[in-house]
């Protein structure tokens, strides 16, 4: 409830920078109030069109924050992301944010030996998270996985930071050959993380949950779901989560998108 009071609608967040690598896009937006309040793992809902096709806003993790600006990093796949990819510098974007509860790094949690895993576009919030962890003086390892080398466009961005980066590709064109979960599991003993953060498709999240559970390490996972509103009004985005005892269809947008791995019920 506290977080949600901070939600803001900024109908004219200015796009100040835009670049792309293939169908991956990075957009920087000036939106002082939202940027200043943003926490890693939170997201925005962007209005990609002023027509009724597509009708709904689209959710994007906050990829980084600098002063009055925030960045999003996304892959253009469907109609909404394609329209967003077509926006130009100087155009305004109508956004809601910061939304949801991000990664919990307060109370010393972030100060530990931390590992963060991002699969594909799921890397988006990991960058913001890693920066905040580093600022806390934490020892950070980032796993970054994708299909091919072309799906790891942020490699250099991460390399420029004072952290350990481990890459994987399914075709072996860069780093470890295989899934990022495989690489992550194989490095478990060596890294011995005290806390794991991850973001990616459901199947990957389920595997991370399994691996961390087996190793007795707490994990926080950022989930995706189709969202009608992004701010708790539609009850459309639910997943089954163990809440104060009972298993409930729980609103990802409001109670999440980040949940402790052991509270997520996999179907």
């Amino acid at each position: 409830m506290l977080e949600s009071i901070l939600m803001i609608k900024d109908p004219s967040a200015r796009i100040t920078y835009r670049r792309n690598w293939g169908d991956y896009y990075l957009i920087r937006i000036t939106s002082p109030e939202i940027a200043q309040k943003a926490l890693p793992g939170q997201f925005i809902m962007a209005r990609v069109s002023d027509r009724s096709v597509p009708l709904l806003r689209r959710p994007f993790s906050i990829h980084s924050r600098e002063g009055d600006s925030l960045e999003i990093f996304f892959q253009s796949s469907g109609i909404g992301t394609t329209l967003l990819a077509g926006k130009k510098e100087g155009e305004d974007l109508d956004i809601l944010g910061p939304l949801g509860n991000g990664f919990d790094i307060k109370n010393g949690i972030g100060k530990k030996r931390a590992t963060a895993v991002g699969g594909g576009r799921g890397i988006a919030p990991i960058y913001f998270l890693a920066q905040e962890l580093l600022a806390m003086g934490s020892d950070v390892t980032v796993f970054y996985g994708g299909k091919t080398a072309r799906d790891l466009p942020l490699k250099e961005r991460f390399e420029a930071k004072n952290l350990r980066l481990m890459c994987s590709t399914e075709d072996g064109s860069l780093g470890f050959r295989g899934f990022v979960t495989g690489l992550f599991e194989s490095k478990m003993d060596q890294l011995n993380p005290e806390i794991v953060f991850a973001c990616g498709p459901d199947l990957m999240m389920e595997e991370i949950a399994g691996i961390t559970k087996k190793n007795g390490i707490p994990a926080q996972l950022s989930l995706e779901s189709i969202m009608g509103c992004g701010f708790g009004a539609c009850w459309g985005c639910v997943k089954k989560i163990r809440m104060s005892g009972a298993e409930e269809w729980t609103k990802i947008c409001q109670e999440g998108p980040v949940f402790p791995a052991d509270r997520i019920i996999w179907e």
Binding site: S4, I5, L6, M7, I8, K9, R47, S52, V53, P54, L55, L56, R57, L96, S225, I226, M227, G228, C229, F231, G232, A233, C234, W235, G236, C237, V238, K239, E248, W249, E267
Partner: protein, 303 residues
């Protein structure tokens, strides 16, 4: 200054814009984005007697100018609502309507009976028209007798005015509207969502886990306007019109068709302050058209 207030007989609203049930949470979700007391009112999410789990996801799918939902009326039940939410809502100084649901007539009566006498309820809106609960999408609002019977039952015990919310999934909206009126309903609201389905051609699965869901949004506006016009032409109780309203112009269209007030649904998801913008746009319309009281436009379409 245009007078935006509308008098429904049993209640006078500040303005004709009400947030629709199921699209405005319990109201509180919208407090960060807007001043709730500027609303004509809002209808809370549908309430069954007991808490309900709702449907499994996916619950939402986008369609051209519309969305399908099958939330399945997940909700807290009357007790939690009365204890924890209703007291909060009093702060906001606007008309709060309760969307009453039931598996059968008995449950509608139990919900109303439980809430009867609590403070801060402007009226009940009987949701006899939700298509998402049962797979076949059947509901009392598809049958004039069932409509009559449940409305009558609730009216007998209710201490608040009763609005009956109709389904658009019918051959003849007029006979259902008349049944509700005959049974003593103080007003009718329409339309609820249209029974719909969408298939993901890649997975060959339905996009909604519940198979069917309800279509809402701009796509349904021309169908909803038609039904509001037909219903308003025959009943003598106020009609609350809705279905795809996204702008002040849309709201005016429903009022010209015969609605005394409007409800805004899906638009709240896209713009949490949609209702506020719509109120402003209605005011601008009235000014441009030299209309002193918004009530003047109700039913004024020339045919």
């Amino acid at each position: 200054m245009t007078d935006l207030s509308v008098d429904l007989g049993f209640i006078k609203l500040k303005n004709p814009v009400i947030a629709a049930s199921g699209t405005f949470g319990y109201g509180l979700e919208f407090a960060p984005f807007m001043d709730l007391k500027k609303l004509g009112g809002f209808v809370v999410k549908g309430l069954y007697f007991s808490p309900r789990e709702g449907n499994p996801p996916p619950r939402i799918a986008e369609t051209p100018s519309g969305m399908i939902n099958a939330i399945g009326l997940q909700g807290v039940g009357v007790k939690n609502f009365a204890d924890e939410i209703l007291p909060e809502l009093k702060k906001y100084d606007t008309s709060v309507f309760i969307n009453v649901c039931g598996e059968d007539e008995e449950e509608y009566a139990r919900v109303v009976d439980f809430l009867n006498g609590l403070e801060g309820i402007a009226a009940y809106e009987l949701n006899i028209s939700c298509p998402n609960v049962k797979k076949e999408g059947k509901c009392p609002a598809q049958d004039p007798e069932a409509t009559y019977s449940v409305v009558k039952r609730v009216k007998e015990i209710s201490r608040c005015p009763v609005i009956t919310k109709l389904s658009p999934n019918v051959t003849d909206i007029v006979e259902i509207a008349q049944s509700a009126e005959e049974a003593g309903s103080d007003a009718i609201s329409l339309v609820n969502t249209f029974l719909a389905m969408a298939i993901d051609i890649e997975t060959q699965k339905t996009k909604i886990a519940n198979v069917f869901g309800g279509l809402s949004g701009p796509a349904i506006k021309p169908l909803a306007v038609r039904m509001v016009f037909q219903a308003a032409s025959v009943v003598n109780i106020p009609v609350l019109g809705m279905g795809g309203i996204a702008t002040g112009g849309d709201a005016v269209e429903f009022m010209l068709a015969g609605a005394s007030a409007v409800q805004v649904g899906t638009a709240n998801f896209i713009d949490p302050d949609a209702t506020i913008q719509i109120i402003r746009e209605i005011e601008t319309y009235c000014k441009n058209q030299n209309i002193d009281r918004v009530e003047e436009i109700i039913g004024k379409v020339q045919i």
